[in-house]
């Protein structure tokens, strides 16, 4: 008899096994997020917004109040919730297309206004839900359905450095980090700090998670992990990028 791995308490059992593809990083990011929510004991106060993208599959993932929104629009929906009821802990969950392409004006303006919300962005270097098109995060030379000969930086530019951009435009009080599904303990730590930052009313919190999409990458398990750990980290530096008061301490 095999023992199922322990689920975070705030996960909703009825919707498990979850709807993501086998080997998908979304489930791992949501595991780290679930554990952070559990450790902070905030399940009842969380409002979770799920973007359109593979994120939409998380619409009944948690035993937390959840709203599915539109592609790119989770940041404003959750901002609207928080502005009207600041006691809630608001999380906008989105893909890289949702956050850096169609919803970039929302992400960057929410950051600039220091909205007291947490945006979690899953970076899997392409558009998962729509079948693997190029995203702002696609690596130079990476083949996708709309860059079949590889991303041409002359035509499409370099991958968006989201957390770095957010860090550059936020005031003190913001928390910005990039984690990876290859290091869940660290990712959970970032998410927990980010939630605490919101609850303390310090400012905008943003965590990008390097993630996997074996379906569209067409990779086996070994190649999937190799891509996250070796290829993605060439362009996306994992670590804490900004935390309240950090400058003063340094």
């Amino acid at each position: 008899m095999s023992v199922a791995p322990r689920m975070p308490k705030c996960w909703r059992e009825e919707s498990k096994p979850h709807k993501f593809c086998p080997g998908c990083g979304h489930g791992l990011v949501l595991k780290a997020l679930g554990e952070a929510i559990d450790e902070l004991g905030i399940q009842d106060k969380v409002v979770f917004g799920a973007d359109i993208g593979c994120s939409l599959l998380a619409w009944d993932f948690f035993n937390c109040d959840t709203v599915q929104t539109h592609h790119g629009r989770t940041t404003p929906v959750v901002t609207g919730v928080k502005r009207a009821n600041p006691d809630l802990v608001c999380i906008a969950y989105m893909g890289d297309g949702g956050g850096y392409a169609i919803g970039s004006q929302h992400l960057f303006n929410a950051a600039a206004r220091n909205e007291r919300i947490l945006a979690v962005l899953v970076n899997n270097t392409q558009y998962g839900m729509t079948g693997g098109q190029m995203a702002p995060t696609t690596l130079p030379g990476q083949k996708t359905e709309t860059s079949p000969y590889g991303r041409d930086i002359e035509q499409a530019g370099y991958p968006t450095q989201g957390p770095e951009a957010v860090a550059a435009i936020t005031q003190d009080g913001a928390y910005v980090a990039r984690g990876t599904v290859a290091n869940l303990r660290q990712l959970k730590g970032f998410l927990k700090k980010a939630l605490e930052n919101q609850m303390a009313g310090n400012g905008f919190s943003f965590v990008e998670a390097l993630s996997t999409c074996p379906t569209n990458w067409r990779t086996n398990a070994a190649k999937t992990w190799e891509f996250v750990e070796k290829e993605m980290t060439k362009y996306f530096k994992v670590g804490e990028i900004k935390a309240p008061g950090q400058k003063k301490e340094a």
Binding site: D44, N63, Q68, H70, R73, G80, R83, N109
Partner: protein, 361 residues
């Protein structure tokens, strides 16, 4: 903090935008989200001046997509939330409006129509009728009040919040640049002092209590996996919309019983239509007047009866037939003939209507 913005009632001489802001405060709106666009700007200007005095809030967003979606967020957390826009902003806001339709989110939108297509003019039109009634990728599950006077702006802004929260369909106050900028006298009042009960909002998300003990968890979605699943959702919404429509429908019909021609118009144009009708009646012409106040739901049965009876309609609007499409669809099968005065983006005077009718009768 001041108690109430208006005690009892009083006469005032205000611009329409000011009236909307007063009405939103009097109607106990909690929060406005907005993005600047002429001719609605002063709604935000007056709201932001009054709001802090009454514990209300405002967020200026990065665009109308955001203004619409933050408004939905505000409603989800249980606030009476609204926004205001016009023209290209209305175009952008169709996306959040379609989410409001699908998820039955009672957001209130004030639209002050300006010229179109595109940036066009910041002045006036009735060219946002199609978009406001049936915009977005939806089926028009919305309530749209088309106002004609400052009194309407005040009354229907208050009513819009009640309608939205009672029926849980997004609700629109459709004004225009003339109404927005013009000053006229209006009676502003405390709705409760007039016996109007203001419906209290309740949260969709983040209700108090512990999940699984005191309350159920809420999962709201707008995405469905199968055609059949979606069909059920849309058809049950349609059924509910149709069943409450008769309670919501409003119109004004005058002198229609013996009329040989009835002027059909909405919004500010109906003021010209009304004075034309009165003038023609005075001169012995058998002219009637019909004004739908709600464009969604449309007073179709009522208008069809009028059309069948008079056999001639004159449809007048400051657009190239957007309102007329609603009229034609709703009286389909009637033998009545339709004359038109279409002036896209331009005002209509009673003289023009009088002249047209004298030439045709």
């Amino acid at each position: 903090m001041a108690e109430k913005p208006i005690q009892g009632e009083r006469k005032a001489f205000l611009t329409g935008n000011e009236v909307v802001a007063y009405a939103a405060v009097a109607g106990e709106a909690d929060i406005m989200y907005g993005y600047p666009i002429t001719p609605q700007n002063e709604i935000m200007h007056y709201w932001t001046r009054m709001a802090p005095k009454y514990g209300k809030r405002f967020l200026q967003t990065e665009d109308e997509l955001s203004a619409g979606f933050t408004t939905l967020g505000g409603v989800l957390s249980g606030a009476k939330a609204f926004t205001a826009t016009a023209g290209p902003g209305n175009t952008l806001m169709q996306e959040p409006m379609s989410m409001a339709e699908m998820m039955r989110i009672p957001a209130v939108f004030v639209i002050q129509q300006r010229g179109g297509p595109s940036t066009a003019t910041v002045i006036y039109s009735q060219q946002e009728v199609t978009m406001t009634t049936y915009g977005g990728n939806g089926e028009g599950f919305r309530v749209v009040y088309s106002t004609a006077t400052h009194q309407d702006l005040f009354d229907y802004t208050i009513k819009a919040f009640n309608t939205a929260w009672k029926y849980r369909f997004p609700t629109f106050v459709l004004g225009d640049g003339y109404q927005a900028k013009m000053r006229e006298s209006v009676t502003i009042y405390d709705p409760q002092a007039r016996g109007i009960e203001l419906i209290k909002p309740t949260p969709y998300l983040g209700k108090p209590g512990s999940i699984g003990k005191d309350r159920e968890v809420t999962h709201m979605r707008n995405t469905y996996n199968t055609e059949e699943e979606l069909y059920e959702v849309v058809m049950s919404m349609a059924k509910e919309y149709d069943s409450v429509a008769p309670e919501i429908v409003e119109f004004d019909a005058r002198e229609v019983d013996d009329a040989e021609i009835v002027i059909v118009s909405h919004g500010v144009v109906s003021r010209a239509a009304l004075s034309a009708m009165l003038e023609l009646r005075g001169a012995g012409y058998k002219v009637g007047y019909f004004r739908p106040v709600t464009l969604r739901p449309f007073p179709g049965d009522q208008l069809r009866k009028v059309a069948d009876n008079a056999k001639r309609l004159l449809v007048v609007e400051s657009a190239l037939g957007q309102f007329n499409k609603l009229v034609q669809t709703n009286i389909y099968g009637s033998a009545a003939t339709i004359d038109t005065i279409f002036k896209p983006g331009v005002g209509v005077t009673s003289e023009e209507i009088v002249a047209k009718i004298k030439a045709t009768l």
